[in-house]
């Protein structure tokens, strides 16, 4: 009896400890998520003059709560996962600052029945946020190891409405075009004309411009119903540059 009890303790106590650690971790992530969301709300409010948005839509905020960002960062970086900052993921890439992810997602005005294209999968976090909102997400990554990691991660997490591909995203995803919205996180000196073609009329494309760790501006491409294209440059900061009259 004593031996059995000791034996039981050897099994159950570690299991209990793992469970407790998991619960504590989950609890920590929950509170970290809440803190992150609160910061995003504050940032959104403070930058509303520049962005035109004083608050982000509910489905974007819900997606940020749902998506476990700590599963998308490098092992060892989980404790930073919900800080409002970019984190490196290897191969010279980063998982973007949550505020920028939230703002970009909100700016393309997603609806539940949308089909969205993402160029530059990276960690897969942005794709997961999109997938929590829309019907289907198609995402392309040019760096094979990153693409495979993202694919495995998204599969494991159960994101069945995301299709991933390794390849050159310049020509988009022709077979599944047109798209209601496109996010382009891969750097380029110009907006790829094929992607503009694959955008539906009334569709929006968003491109962050700047370095990996500092986003200088967001460029929103809007395709009108008549097919004409306009770009709108948004500074993710509140700035009033001009004073005085002329």
């Amino acid at each position: 009896m004593v031996i059995n009890l000791s034996y039981s303790k050897c099994i159950f106590i570690p299991l209990l400890l793992v469970f407790v650690v998991d619960v504590i971790a989950a609890d920590n992530y929950t509170s970290a998520k809440q803190a992150m969301l609160a910061e995003i709300k504050t940032d959104t409010r403070l930058t509303s003059i520049a962005t035109g948005r004083s608050k982000l839509s509910n489905h974007v905020m819900d997606a940020l709560i749902t998506v476990p960002r700590h599963k998308f960062v490098r092992p060892g970086d989980e404790k930073y996962a919900y800080e409002n900052r970019p984190l490196r993921i290897g191969y010279g890439q980063t998982i973007s600052q949550p505020y920028i992810v939230a703002l970009m997602t909100d700016l393309i005005d997603l609806r539940a029945d949308y089909k969205v294209l993402e160029i530059g999968t990276g960690s897969g976090y942005q794709a997961a946020v999109l997938a929590a909102i829309v019907k289907s997400v198609y995402t392309i990554e040019i760096i094979p190891p990153l693409a495979k990691q993202a694919h495995n991660r998204l599969s494991t997490l159960g994101y069945n409405n995301i299709e991933t591909r390794i390849g050159d995203g310049y020509y988009g995803w022709q077979e599944m075009a047109p798209f209601d919205a496109i996010i382009v996180t891969a750097a380029a000196t110009h907006v790829p004309p094929p992607l503009i073609k694959q955008l539906k009329p009334n569709g929006k494309m968003i491109i962050p411009v700047g370095g990996k760790f500092f986003t200088q501006q967001l460029m929103l491409i809007e395709k009108k119903i008549d097919g004409t294209v306009r770009s709108r440059q948004i500074l993710p900061v509140a700035f009033v540059p001009l004073t005085g009259t002329h």
């Binding site: 490196r88 191969y91 010279g92 509140a238 001009l242 005085g244």
Partner: protein, 811 residues
């Protein structure tokens, strides 16, 4: 092992000469290496700290002088060994550190890695400075000769490194430095009559770089630089590497995923670039060599960029391209059937790539009948030429990333000053156009500053109403400003409007434009470019410039910091923005400059002044405190004055000599060489007379040069390079000769009355030099180089008076 040393009667001048040359060579090499593995502005920051090794050495020798002096031979040799080893091992080790400067504001642990970075880089300078400082201290009766050897060695180092970087890659040059360090140790060991073991160690040091595993001897650029990122793409391959004093050029091919380099391509463009090779400069700043098979239709994409606007105003042009680079602008000119093209490029290696290595790939554009390529600095070329052009094109001479981050604020640029603009405009035919294309930065600054610069230039050329002579269009990321000596007519305006509409570019300004015409295709929250240009060309321009958050005032040759946009009073507003978002608005170049100055001051206190103060407190005698005041004030003033004068005149001569790297090498070599001669000569006169003569000589030369140099340079600019180099050296020689005198006189004075203060004087002077190098740049950015020279003269005068008073008090 060290028992068989003897201290020779003469200082080991050859060893000092070599160590000093190696130290300066290593400093220059370090900027190259750090520019490749990190970014050049961090190289600037780190170098200033590394030089504090000199100051720390002074403190070290002062505090431990009683232990070091009796062991001079072994300490001297050990420091040479340590210099050689740390110079190569430091670089190899720091590449293993997980240091990413881009994360400094996000990740506190990066500051620890930065500190380790600094320490590794500081060590070689610390050891080299120990060698020189110990000799000055040990042989205090022969200071002039030792200091002369130091300066002459440094002069050779400055010249030598430029030569070596021409022929060898940076790491190969580093191997040679270590080898020569071993050689210096060998010479010193022979002079000190060392035993065979020491001689053997010297040979070992000489061979050490070649004993390291080859895999260790690679430079690894940051994974966040564009070359590193491009190499992650399947199928990319480095096909060429060229190294020189101006930088490392890497050519990358990407057969599976084309580069598609087409900056500012219109949103409505149907054409794409043909196959391209990527050229990366120091692992970043990509440009492209575009395949041209002779069929102009393959280049149709070049018509969909804002830089093609001037070709829609004029035909059959005589074109001048400034900063031709990989040839995109030359291709564009060929696409538009320019009659003749002169292409100016400062970097010979890029030109050689297009002319030779990739001549067939590029369609032999640089060997074409109607294309002449000149290896020259743009202004120097124009000043030496009387030719006039229909179009002068200067487009996108830096990468978007470096431009957006404001990293050029550290660099002077004589291409965008009012004087430069006048030069360009005077080389236009009567209906000619000057076309300047810059990256769009938000909030706008570059483009608006160009507008003010053009306005000032037009005024100075006698144009009454500059607003009739400019036009501005933009895409989402490029803006092209056109300037003419003649007003834009209605047909010009119609063509500009038509072109912009066809390509979905936004009009920002033309004479008579209205607000309703702007900001349609690439929409900004406000019509910044229209408002800004209109304001700058109105009577209220001064008010606008004063109230604008960035500095838009035109740069001049005296203040050639076009890329300095930061107004310091704007900084608090930026820093108050939440969650580091203001970081995207900061001009990083200027911030780094201020940060470098602050860290230099703090490190000086920590590494130099604090240890010396603690040491000082342990020393009784009131006389010591008077000597301390003399040492601190005299050698600080000399450090400031020497660096201010040197930097101010380096800037002047860059304009004359036309090639920044060679100008710096020639001017630095000249200053150091003739200062060394002055130092050697200074012992011939009595001390007070020497310092007085030196002060007067420096003042006369400086004032004379401020008055006559601009005219003299204009007069001589057309001479061949070799003559300009000789003239530069002749001009530098008298002033540098006098500048070499005060320092050894001060040390000689200490040698007679307070020899244990010599290392401290050495340290304080090194410290002041480091801080002054940064301060000189900041002052020049704010007030211009003339004031930097005036301040240097004030410092020399004050130092002279302090010296006289000290001499009087001692006698």
């Amino acid at each position: 092992m060290f028992t068989s040393f003897s201290k020779p009667n003469r200082p080991p001048l050859i060893a000092i000469f070599l160590i000093s040359s190696l130290s300066l060579s290593y400093e220059v090499l370090l900027t190259r290496i750090l520019s490749i593995i990190q970014w050049h502005h961090f190289a600037y920051m780190i170098i200033s700290i590394a030089l504090l090794g000199y100051g720390a050495s002074g403190a070290f020798i002062t505090i431990f002088q009683n232990k070091l002096k009796p062991r001079f031979p072994v300490v001297f040799l050990t420091n040479i060994f340590l210099f050689a080893l740390s110079s190569i091992l430091g670089i190899l080790l720091l590449q293993q550190l997980p240091f990413n400067p881009l994360e400094l504001f996000w990740d506190k642990s990066q500051w620890i890695w930065l500190f380790i970075f600094y320490t590794l880089l500081m060590l070689p300078f610390f050891f080299a400075a120990n060698c020189i400082g110990l000799v000055l201290y040990q042989y205090s009766g022969q200071i002039s000769a030792s200091y002369a050897a130091d300066l002459l060695g440094a002069a050779l180092g400055a010249l030598g490194i430029v030569f070596f970087l021409h022929w060898f890659f940076p790491l190969q040059t580093l191997q040679l430095i270590v080898f020569t360090g071993g050689l210096a140790a060998l010479i010193a060991a022979l002079e000190l009559k060392s035993n065979k073991t020491i001689i053997f160690i010297c040979y070992l040091i000489m061979l050490f770089p070649w004993l390291l595993p080859k895999a260790w001897l690679e430079l690894k650029p940051s994974e966040y630089k564009s070359l590193s990122q491009a190499r992650n793409i399947i199928g990319t391959q480095v096909i060429n590497n060229k190294s020189g004093p101006l930088g490392l050029l890497t050519v990358l091919e990407s057969p599976k995923v084309p580069f598609r380099h087409a900056p500012g391509l219109s949103l409505g463009s149907d054409s794409l670039p043909p196959e391209q090779l990527g050229i990366f400069y120091d692992g970043d700043s990509m440009s492209a060599i575009t395949r041209f098979d002779g069929n102009p239709s393959s280049l149709a994409y070049l018509n969909n960029m804002t830089s093609s606007l001037p070709y829609h105003l004029l035909e059959n042009l005589e074109v001048l391209i400034l900063g031709a680079g990989g040839g995109t602008d030359v291709l564009q000119a060929k696409y538009f059937q320019a009659r003749h093209i002169d292409a100016v490029e400062i970097n010979q290696q890029i030109v050689n790539l297009i002319k030779n290595d990739y001549a067939n790939f590029s369609g032999n554009i640089y060997n074409s009948k109607n294309v002449n390529v000149y290896i020259a600095e743009s202004r120097a070329y124009l000043q030496a030429s009387e030719k006039k052009y229909d179009l002068i094109q200067m487009a996108l001479m830096d990468s978007f990333a470096t431009s957006a981050a404001g990293l050029h604020a550290l660099n002077e640029s004589y291409l965008y000053t009012t004087e430069a603009m006048k030069l360009y405009l005077t080389h236009l035919n009567s209906n000619g156009v000057l076309a300047l294309t810059r990256w769009v930065k938000l909030p706008p600054r570059d483009t608006l500053k160009l507008v003010d610069t053009a306005k000032q230039a037009l005024h100075q050329l006698g144009v009454a109403d500059p607003k009739q002579h400019m036009a501005l269009i933009r895409s989402w990321n490029t803006a092209t400003l056109l300037i003419k000596n003649q007003p834009f007519g209605s047909s010009d305006i119609a063509k500009i409007t038509n072109f912009s509409q066809r390509h979905s570019f936004d009009l920002a300004y033309y004479p008579g434009i209205t607000k309703i015409e702007v900001n349609h295709y690439n929409v900004l929250p406000e019509a910044y470019f229209f408002h800004g240009t209109s304001a700058l060309l109105s009577e209220k321009s001064r008010q606008f410039i004063n109230q604008y958050k960035y500095d838009l005032q035109a740069a001049t040759d005296d203040k050639p910091y076009f890329f300095n946009f930061l107004k310091s009073h704007f900084l608090p507003e930026i820093l108050q923005l939440p969650a580091n978002q203001g970081l995207a608005l900061i001009e990083w170049g200027t911030i780094i400059l201020y940060a470098t100055l602050i860290q230099a001051c703090l490190a000086s206190v920590f590494f130099i002044l604090l240890p010396l103060w603690i040491y000082q407190r342990s020393q009784p005698e009131t006389k010591q405190s008077q000597t301390t005041t003399f040492v601190f004030s005299y050698f600080t003033l000399l450090g400031i004055a020497f660096m201010f004068m040197e930097i101010a005149f380096i800037q002047r001569f860059i304009l004359f000599l036309g090639h920044p790297t060679y100008a710096i090498a020639v001017v630095l070599t000249g200053f150091l060489f003739f200062a060394g001669i002055g130092s050697a000569y200074s012992k011939k006169w009595p001390a007070i007379q020497t310092v007085k003569t030196a002060t007067i000589g420096i003042a006369l030369c400086a004032i004379l040069y401020l008055l006559i140099l601009p005219s003299l340079f204009n007069w001589c600019i057309n001479l061949p390079e070799i003559f300009k180099i000789v003239i530069s050296l002749l001009l530098i020689s008298p002033m540098a000769f006098f500048m070499g005198m005060p320092f050894p006189q001060g040390l000689s004075l200490l040698a007679r009355y307070s020899p244990n203060r010599i290392p401290w004087a050495w340290g304080v002077n090194g410290c002041a030099s480091v801080i002054s190098a940064i301060a000189a740049t900041l002052l020049a950015m704010e007030f211009g180089f003339t004031w930097v020279v005036i301040l240097a003269l004030v410092c020399y005068t004050l130092a002279g008076r302090i010296f006289s008073k000290k001499l009087q008090s001692l006698s």
